[in-house]
């Protein structure tokens, strides 16, 4: 797999999609090597921006060829000034983009049944993942959840690609009133799925991983950790992950993830350094010493 590329991409389109914006960038040098689960990092605010850090987004679709050459599409929720700036772009504007980044979803070698779970814009990478799975002969069952109907993403596309689709919203404004983990156990049993793919908020991923394990299914979870560099050099994006040797390490979500085996992540300890992690201090590091940074 070729490494990430930095490209000055032209904005092809910005379209509203419910509570989200779909941003299509012309980036042929990147589009060709994107696999489902990869993300891209976009610079925001222009040359005199006060915002130095890139913003990370899962790739929704990467079109290697097509009308306009080689495009990468992301789905963004306006959250703060960086995403607000991106949502205001117009066709012809330019955005500096780096990608593909991270490790994509691992696909099963056998044509097994799979469940895809997306929370909010976490559904973004699932459509192309579903296509990849279907191409390998896998059955694809999708569950999409969100707080409200307008925060669901990709329902129509999922309906088209999946063998089955369930939708939940916290307020019942679309689909079933509830959260994705309400429907997951039953679905796993019913479909005898062997792999669960999930992308969404950390709490959801933890639940999905737990349920998958309880059903003897393998899970692949795409996490979202605050990232300063996105390329593996800064060590800001770490979480505790158990290696094949049984040792817990603080690993980088940007290069060792964002997709992890659900049973390898120590979900309850995310945000902490477990005392049994490799190199953990005897006592937790005191804050306020200031210097050790």
């Amino acid at each position: 797999m070729s490494g990430p590329v930095q490209a000055d991409a032209e904005v092809v389109a910005v379209r509203r999609a419910g509570a989200y914006h779909r941003l299509v960038l012309l980036a042929p040098a990147i589009a060709g090597s994107v696999r489902p689960g990869h993300f891209v990092a976009l610079a925001v605010g222009g040359p005199a921006s006060s915002m130095l850090l890139r913003r990370a987004f899962s790739v929704h679709r990467a079109e290697e060829r097509g009308r306009s050459g080689g495009t990468v599409e992301v789905v963004l929720a306006v959250h703060g000034p960086g995403t607000a700036w991106l949502a205001e772009r117009r066709p012809g504007d330019r955005v500096d983009v780096i990608g593909p980044l991270g490790k994509p979803f691992a696909l099963p070698r056998e044509p097994v049944a799979c469940v895809l779970v997306g929370g909010g814009y976490g559904a973004a990478p699932l459509a192309s993942l579903a296509e990849g799975l279907r191409a390998r002969g896998c059955a694809v069952h999708t569950v999409l959840g969100a707080a409200t109907a307008d925060r669901l993403f990709g329902v129509l596309e999922a309906k088209r690609i999946s063998d089955s689709l369930e939708v939940t919203t916290d307020d019942g404004s679309a689909g079933r009133n509830g959260i994705v983990s309400d429907v997951l156990p039953d679905l796993l049993t019913r479909t005898r799925s062997e792999v669960v793919y999930a992308c969404g908020p950390m709490g959801m991923l933890a639940e999905v991983a737990r349920i998958a394990a309880a059903h003897g299914a393998h899970s692949q979870c795409a996490v979202e950790e605050t990232m300063a560099c996105g390329i593996g050099v800064c060590m800001t994006c770490v979480l505790p992950v158990v290696g094949t040797d049984g040792v817990t390490r603080m690993v980088r979500a940007c290069v060792d993830g964002p997709v992890f085996r659900g049973d390898a992540v120590r979900w309850a300890d995310v945000g902490t350094v477990p005392t049994d992690a490799l190199g953990a201090p005897a006592e937790p590091l005191a804050p306020m010493t200031g210097g050790l940074r």
Binding site: I231, C234, L278, G279, L285, M288
Partner: protein, 335 residues
């Protein structure tokens, strides 16, 4: 209304400009290095900029043992900057030498190893361990660490503690390898600390490390960083960095300086060189633009050619010279 430019000697083009420099006796192909902690051990950044074209890769500060670092969140974006509180996560010196330094050597990059410890003894042991290692161009001593033997007081904030570390590292290091002391700007009298380090044997000074800062999440009404305070870096701090370089170069013009703090463009490198730096590290801006070193080198060449300056090295400390005294800088040997 554009400011006056120095006359351009006929025919000086960017490609003719000589960017090579010497830092504490070490010749460097480029004045542009990567800052400690901002390019790991070079492997990832090599995807964006050929690390052989860098003056050197300054590696993330390494400690004796593996270290897991602090809890997350470890960073917060701030206006034209960021805070970080990594807690020196790293694999420990043995793994580092075996996997990281050896990769950099094989790749053909120059390596400046940054070391960090919690006691003078730890720094000394790190330096001893490096003595055997091959392919190390210089040692940068990150003294912005709390001294576990002195109530966590940061070495860099105390002249004698800083000097003790530098002295121990210098003694344990092979004579040919320069030792650079990396200074913190969070002190009342930077020149005094610098003087202490040079007196203790530092062959050069690296400055500046981050400023101590903090951000509070106004939604959760709690500090953003798990470590509460963190180090402020990026263009926001550049004026502080330039001032520090200027003050120290003014006080001790013979001491080589590796400048850093918010460098984003070729003009920013030039600014630090004019203030007194012999070479410059790029840190936080790599997160914004991982290929920045290549862009910056090109900008620097163009800037020098436009000013008719054939050799960057001629401009080290140039802004200190009396305007009337300044030798006109012209190309002499544009090879």
């Amino acid at each position: 209304m554009t400011a006056a430019r120095t006359a351009t000697p006929a025919g000086l083009v960017p490609a003719d400009v000589d960017l090579t420099t010497t830092l504490a006796g070490v010749g460097l192909v480029s004045p542009i290095l990567t800052a400690s902690g901002c390019a790991a051990a070079g492997r990832e950044i090599d995807q964006f900029v050929d690390v052989r074209t860098l003056g050197a890769v300054v590696t993330k500060s390494i400690m004796l043992e593996p270290r897991s670092g602090r809890a997350t969140p470890r960073m917060a974006e701030t206006p034209s900057g960021m805070l970080n509180s990594i807690g020196l996560q790293g694999p420990g010196i043995e793994h580092f030498l075996k996997h990281d330094v050896s990769w950099l050597r094989r790749r053909g990059a120059r390596v400046v190893v940054s070391i960090a410890g919690g006691s003078v003894e730890e720094y000394a042991r790190l330096a001893q361990r490096l003595r055997g290692a091959e392919g190390i161009a210089a040692i940068e001593v990150n003294i912005s660490c709390p001294n576990v033997e002195d109530r966590g007081q940061v070495f860099a904030c105390n002249r004698s503690a800083a000097a003790a570390v530098v002295h121990a590292v210098r003694r344990a290091t092979a004579p040919g390898i320069p030792v650079l002391a990396k200074l913190s700007p969070d002190v009342t009298d930077l020149v005094d600390i610098a003087d202490g380090c040079v007196g203790a044997g530092a062959d050069g000074l690296a400055m500046i490390n981050t400023l101590l800062g903090m951000v509070i999440d106004t939604e959760r009404m709690r500090p953003v960083l798990a470590g509460i305070t963190g180090g402020l870096s990026g263009p926001a701090i550049r004026p502080v960095a330039v001032r520090c370089i200027w003050q120290v170069h003014r006080a001790m013009p013979e001491v080589p300086i590796l400048g850093m703090g918010g460098v984003r463009t070729g003009a920013d490198v030039l600014e630090m060189v004019l203030a007194g730096a012999s070479a410059v590290s790029i840190g936080t801006v790599l997160f914004n633009d991982p290929s920045a070193p290549t862009r910056i080198a090109a900008e620097l060449r163009t800037a020098l050619a436009a000013r008719g300056v054939a050799r960057l090295a001629d401009l080290v400390g140039y802004a200190h010279r009396d305007p009337d005294d300044r030798a006109v800088v012209v190309e002499e040997d544009p090879t």
